[in-house]
């Protein structure tokens, strides 16, 4: 197409001839998934609201949930954990992605193999691994004992700290993958030019690499933060019953406390919080476009 004026966005010419056909096409393609979203997402969320309002004791489940010390403690613990894990994951993920890009052959293979191993094995199995490491007489204690560093059994298992390393390990691939593709997309000529004109590593990082990978760091970070807020298995098994996150408290309301209305109210608060954070971040940083 050789036009002198700027052509509009890639509007397909055939579509302009027959807009009606295009609309029928969009309808046929989009209706089934959108209907599914209404049933699979809309109906359960509505049921959640009804369930929360249906309070046997006659009070308001939301105020009851928000004044429960167990819930508030768990909320604080969850947000702190998600924030720390996100920061660590993004920093470590940036280093990891860079290391993959600049490693010589066999080291690169090793780093990629580690990443794939983590992606392919289930979260349950990885969490067991961390349990076995962190148990009072577990693998870390064994290693520390053999190196002569430790003679007291390790006291980390089932404390709030115990979930941190495991959460970082579970979340790390979600930060590494987008940063890897952002690094691969940097204009090599720009890097070469910087080197030719004598820019040092720090200047090159500040002016070329960092701006290029910042969007990926943000979208990876948002995803990790939001997923960490709702994580269930890893914090529950490693933090133990005394250090439950919000997810653990919610399941406790249903499975042991017999207060599904409170569980539903807490679920709504959790869903509302995470989806609000996700939507705001999506508007600001186009997180879904990094994915879709």
């Amino acid at each position: 197409m050789s036009t002198t004026t700027a052509p509009p966005e890639h509007a397909a010419p055939a579509d302009r001839h027959e807009p009606g056909r295009n609309r029928a096409e969009a309808r046929w393609l989009l209706w089934p998934p959108l209907a599914f979203f209404v049933v699979a997402l809309g109906v359960p969320l509505a049921a959640l609201v009804l369930r929360a309002l249906d309070n046997e004791t006659g009070g308001n489940s939301f105020t009851a949930a928000l004044t429960m010390p167990v819930f508030l403690d768990a909320l604080g613990r969850t947000v702190l954990m998600a924030a720390v894990v996100t920061a660590l994951t993004v920093l470590l993920g940036t280093a990891y992605a860079t290391a993959v890009a600049v490693s010589p052959g066999w080291l690169k293979m090793l780093l990629i193999a580690a990443l794939l191993l983590s992606l392919w094995t289930s979260i349950m199995v990885r969490t067991f691994g961390w349990m076995l490491l962190e148990l009072p007489r577990g693998a870390i204690f064994w290693l520390g004992g053999n190196l002569g560093l430790m003679d007291e059994p390790l006291g980390i298992y089932q404390t709030a700290v115990a979930m941190y390393p495991a959460m970082v390990a579970v979340m790390l691939p979600f930060a590494v993958l987008p940063i890897t593709s952002a690094l691969a997309a940097i204009d090599r000529e720009q890097l070469n030019a910087a080197a030719v004109f004598g820019a040092g590593p720090l200047l090159t990082f500040r002016t070329i690499i960092r701006p290029a990978i910042t969007p990926a760091m943000i979208s990876g970070g948002v995803l990790v933060f939001v997923m960490a807020l709702g994580f269930y298995v890893t914090p529950l098994l490693l933090g133990g019953p005394a250090n439950m996150t919000v997810s653990g408290v919610i399941s406790g309301q249903l499975r042991t406390a017999g207060r599904p209305d409170l569980g539903a109210a807490m679920s709504i608060l959790l869903v509302g919080g995470t989806i609000a954070i996700y939507l705001v971040a999506d508007r600001l940083f186009k997180v879904s476009e990094k994915w879709g």
Binding site: A12, P13, A14, D15, R21, A24, E25, L29, L30, P33, F36, F37, L41, P44, L48, A95, Y96, A99, A101, V102, S103, L107, L110, L111, W120, T121, S122, I123, M124, V125, G129, W130, L132, L133, A139, V168, A169, L172, L191, N192, A199, P201, I208, I209, L223, V226, Y232, V246, S247, I250, S251, L254, P260, A264, M266, L279, S288, E289, W291, G292
Partner: protein, 280 residues
């Protein structure tokens, strides 16, 4: 295939960065190796380092009906949900390209990715509340399968969308100008080059559903367990080497299947590159 330009730009920082990367890779390797090591103990407790060597716990798992039933239940749920998620995610990714309005396009894309951000436990409580209101859904796998499908759709959608971004956008209008109807264009022109992305999405969806445990905690009919749920309850009740033996086996299976798929797709890509070079 080291990245020369990036290497030069990073300069002497290379060594410390690689060192950090290697230390971080221990976070991936070590827990897995510990699980594997404890599974071949000849004792009856999970101990590290393992005492002796035997495969007795593998035999125990492989002859235990409960473990086998939970494995097959997981396979069934994952297959059904994967098929549904592949259909819905692919339709969504294709449908997205037909939307004209940029704003609407962004909203639809956000909607399709959003289930990744949905806290699974809260969503499980929602599905559980639906089951309480519609008693005929109790004792069925319907709500579990629907839920797992929703959680898997974003991965298929993301992979097919990025596959679509790499296809030639002028093929569709060209075929349309030549008089092909849109279902025919879809079937003959658009879907064939997307097949690798769709298969990749299917594999990803299957892995996600197969490993997902939170929905099954609340939604499974009494007396049935998926494999991750069986592992979860076993870890809370009796922490025996059965658990690590089962973990090792299912991980090795995943590594074989997914690694094989990865190799096959690498080989296909290389063959395609060579063909292109030959025809150029």
């Amino acid at each position: 295939m080291t990245d020369r330009s990036l290497l030069r730009a990073i300069g002497w920082y290379r060594t410390p960065i690689i060192a950090i990367g290697l230390l971080a890779s221990l976070l991936f390797f070590v827990p897995f190796l510990v699980v594997v090591a404890t599974s071949w103990t000849s004792g009856s407790f999970i101990l590290f380092p393992p005492t002796g060597f035997s495969l007795q716990w593998y035999e125990t798992v492989l002859t235990d009906r409960q473990w086998l039933n939970s494995f097959w239940l997981s396979v069934v749920v994952a297959v059904i949900s994967t098929v549904a998620a592949v259909l819905l995610g692919t339709l969504g990714a294709l449908g997205l390209t037909r939307i004209r309005s940029r704003a609407l396009q962004r909203w639809v894309r956000t909607l399709f990715i959003a289930p990744i951000a949905l806290p699974p436990i809260a969503y499980a409580v929602g599905l559980w509340s639906v089951d309480r209101r519609l008693p005929f859904l109790d004792d069925t796998l319907v709500s579990l399968v629907v839920g797992e499908t929703l959680l898997a759709v974003p991965y298929v959608f993301a992979l097919v969308s990025s596959g679509l971004a790499g296809t030639d956008p002028s093929l569709r209008p060209a075929a349309s100008t030549l008089g092909a109807s849109w279902p025919m264009i879809l079937w003959r022109i658009e879907l064939p080059p997307l097949l690798p992305s769709i298969l990749g999405g299917a594999l990803f969806a299957f892995t996600v559903v197969f490993d997902e445990v939170v929905l099954s905690v609340l939604l499974l009919p009494p007396g049935t367990q998926t494999l991750p749920l069986k592992m979860f309850t076993a870890s809370q009740e009796a922490f025996s080497p059965e658990l690590t033996a089962a973990s090792t086996m299912v991980s090795l299976l995943a590594i074989l299947v997914l690694g094989g798929a990865q190799l096959a797709s690498n080989r296909r890509n290389r063959a395609a590159r060579l063909r292109r070079k030959a025809s150029a």
